[in-house]
């Protein structure tokens, strides 16, 4: 294991938003537990999909954010990430495969590591409204994944 320490994001962001003048700290969603389902079939027989927080189009500051879908048949030249909170001094998102690993998964499909890469990937908007995420966005994405008969989903947030 590399000798690197994690960033304590919740404390860091709490102090940051406090400095921005927000009096009430954001209440992160919490659950008593997480439902767990073991794999029902081997990975080599499973269809894998990607869910990303990037977008296939540029989102303006005040634009309503919505679930979006892209195709994995060709790796997108670009996915839009500027409106997300990642460290824009330390790195970049020019390499789509670094956060939406279509190429890697396609190769794994060809090698038989996974059964199949789903032909669609899904973009979930980062949303401070937990009810919007739980009641609208997640069910919409789930419906799409079920329609595509996906077995495994990689959630890759930025």
């Amino acid at each position: 294991m590399s000798d690197t320490k994690p960033v304590f994001y919740m404390e860091r962001t709490r102090r940051y938003y406090e400095a921005q003048g927000f009096d009430t700290a954001y209440q992160y969603a919490s659950s008593d537990g997480a439902p767990f389902t073991p794999m029902r079939k081997p990975l080599a027989e499973s269809k894998v999909a990607i869910v990303t927080t990037a977008s296939t189009y540029h989102r303006e500051d005040l634009e309503p954010r919505k679930v979006d879908i892209g195709s994995t048949l060709i790796v997108p030249k670009k996915l839009y990430t500027d409106d997300l909170s990642w460290d824009k001094n330390a790195t970049h998102t020019d390499d789509v495969n670094s956060f939406c690993p279509i190429e890697s998964l396609r190769e794994f499909e060809q090698q038989g590591v996974i059964g199949e890469l789903s032909s669609r990937f899904h973009c979930v908007p980062t949303e401070y409204s937990q009810s919007a995420t739980v009641d609208q966005d997640a069910p919409r994405i789930l419906k799409s994944l079920q329609k595509d008969e996906v077995d495994v989903v990689l959630l890759i947030p930025l």
Partner: protein, 69 residues
């Protein structure tokens, strides 16, 4: 390296026996200096952050007005 990281994730998924199974990868890249500076609050940026907050609150009001109208 990208393939190795994705492979590690897939293998973890395949062998996980409970929720919140955590593993650490041996992969490392870049440097860690950014961690100290990430979302840093100091005397040099405090005023600018407060101004940013004012803009965010103004935008939020516009959104709420639009979304609930």
């Amino acid at each position: 390296m990208q393939q190795r990281i994705v492979s590690h994730g897939l293998q973890l998924l395949a062998r996980a026996s409970s929720a919140e199974t955590i593993e650490y990868s041996d992969e490392s890249w870049g440097y860690d200096d950014w961690k100290a500076a990430y979302m840093e609050v100091n005397d040099h940026n405090r005023a600018a952050l407060l101004k940013q907050g004012d803009e965010l609150r103004a935008n939020r009001q516009v959104r709420q007005k639009r979304d609930f109208s």
